[in-house]
């Protein structure tokens, strides 16, 4: 599939592909992405397997956007792709965020940290189109990363160093939202943040949904590599997730990350 546009969003890179046959993608779903040419090239022969990347947005006419944070050989190579380059895509995969029943008297509260903004912004766009009021809380390390938030003027932004928005983590704005009335939380971000959000929601009996990450080799249930522990046993995150209800999570830990993030 051809890349029709790329642009930077803060330190992240947006990649847009055009697929007229594309099935509808739901926020929280993902694709497995690899470059058609040159994949497997960087030092050490990686990346070799495709990489899981969340759906960011669609233009309704077959144009789909992804947001990439170049943290390793795979995402770095994806971030270097240019208009006209070919991308191999498998998807959409995974369950996506559950739809909120119209009858529910709760306000969606969307919380994201770092590259976790991708599925959360997708959900925010969907809710906005449906005219559903919601909170949007985005946390970043610093101003460089937070540039991405400029495109969402209604968002409450927090940065670790206070250079943009309020200083601190997403937890303070989250607490204010939870105090303001009944909320259903939708969150994606680094495991440490997600665990803080999870335990806060558990304390206040707030329903919460988490878009989790796990190392994935296939993305469609073939390898059993993306195991995540839940109260109902180990599940394959790619087919039983990536969105998991807080009610079945005893805790969110990082697995398969060198940096423990």
């Amino acid at each position: 599939m051809s890349i029709v546009e790329t642009r930077s969003l803060g330190l992240y890179q947006v990649i847009k592909v055009q697929d007229d046959q594309a099935p509808e993608v739901r926020p929280g779903q993902f694709h497995m992405l690899s470059a058609t040419v040159g994949w497997g090239g960087e030092g050490g022969g990686r990346p070799w397997l495709a990489r899981a990347i969340s759906f960011l947005s669609s233009d309704g006419n077959g144009g789909i956007e992804f947001l990439v944070d170049g943290i390793g050989p795979g995402t770095r190579q994806l971030a270097l792709l240019k208009q006209g380059d070919q991308l191999d895509l498998v998807g959409p995969l995974g369950n996506g965020f559950p739809e909120l029943a119209a009858s529910e008297e709760t306000t969606p509260c969307l919380v994201a940290g770092g590259i976790g903004i991708a599925p959360i912004l997708a959900l925010s766009q969907q809710l906005a189109l449906a005219g559903t009021e919601h909170d949007l809380i985005l946390g970043f390390r610093n101003a460089e990363f937070a540039d991405a938030a400029a495109a969402w003027p209604d968002a409450t932004v927090a940065t670790d160093d206070g250079s943009v928005g309020e200083q601190g983590t997403v937890m303070a704005p989250l607490a204010r939202a939870l105090d303001a009335g009944p909320r259903t939380v939708y969150a994606c971000g680094p495991p440490l943040m997600l665990e803080a959000v999870r335990s806060r929601c558990e304390e206040s009996d707030t329903p919460a949904w988490f878009a989790l990450e796990a190392p994935m080799a296939c993305g469609f249930g073939a390898c059993f590599g993306c195991a995540v522990e839940t109260k109902n046993g180990i599940v394959r995150l790619c087919v039983d997730g990536p969105v998991i209800s807080g009610s079945v999570l005893a805790g969110i830990t990082s697995t398969g990350r060198v940096d423990g993030q």
Binding site: G44, L49, A50, P215, C218, F220, A222, T255
Partner: protein, 288 residues
Amino acid sequence: MSVNFCGIELAHPVVNSSGTFDPLAARRAFGDAAFTNFPFSAHVTKTITVAARQGNRPPRLWEAPTSLINSIGLPNKGIERWLAEDYPQLRELPVPLIVNVMGFDTDELIQLVGAVAQLADVVAIELNVSCPNVETGTIIGSDPDECSRTVNAVRGLTTLPLIVKLTPNATDPAAVALAAQEAGADAISMINTLRGLALDPTTLEPWLGGGTGGVSGPAVKAVALAQTASVCAAVSIPIIGMGGIDSGHAAREFLAAGATLVAVGTASFTDPTAGSRISAELGAMTAH
């Protein structure tokens, strides 16, 4: 391109390798096309054990140049729930079903083979004696006498073809294959994954939850091809060759080494339709 394997007519020689393609999950991800356009000429199930298994704790994957090291640990729902929940759906596949089982002792294996042999839509049984993640598997599959005893224990239970899946982690796979043939095995499949170790780049401790793991993918192809050729020379029963096959050309190499069928594993991970592509490439090559 159709091929006869142990009396079973298959549309082409490309099947999936055990534990690398789950048709039920693929149907959830891709819809009914995953069934109707099934990429393989037969489906080999993931290894089924008597008791349900959660598998190894994460992380379970390590990526290396053109290879994957996995420590999955044979997660499966156990034979009872597989019979009740999965088999009724898998029999709807448009291709024959080969069931892969593993017993942790002879009694378990007898129980598994006995149960699977009753199923109307199963055409063959594959015995996993080779998984590197579970200690007993390594022992049986690397020792001719052990292997012979294992095949003997279940040979009388079924008239279905018995396929013995060999481990490459053995001094002399041909001797093990020969022992399996003499004990009444109808076919050999090989290779399972090669034992490998990945270290966390910062701590230099084992990365994988299971300690060591199994290496698969194109990096193991040369080893697999050499072992396939030596086993094919030693036995007269048919061979399912596998290990790193990701193209029609690679499939053709295993057939040239003497294999009757080839299996595709890790290549399906990046391309769910790899089986169809490889059989088409193979067809185009052999047509000339």
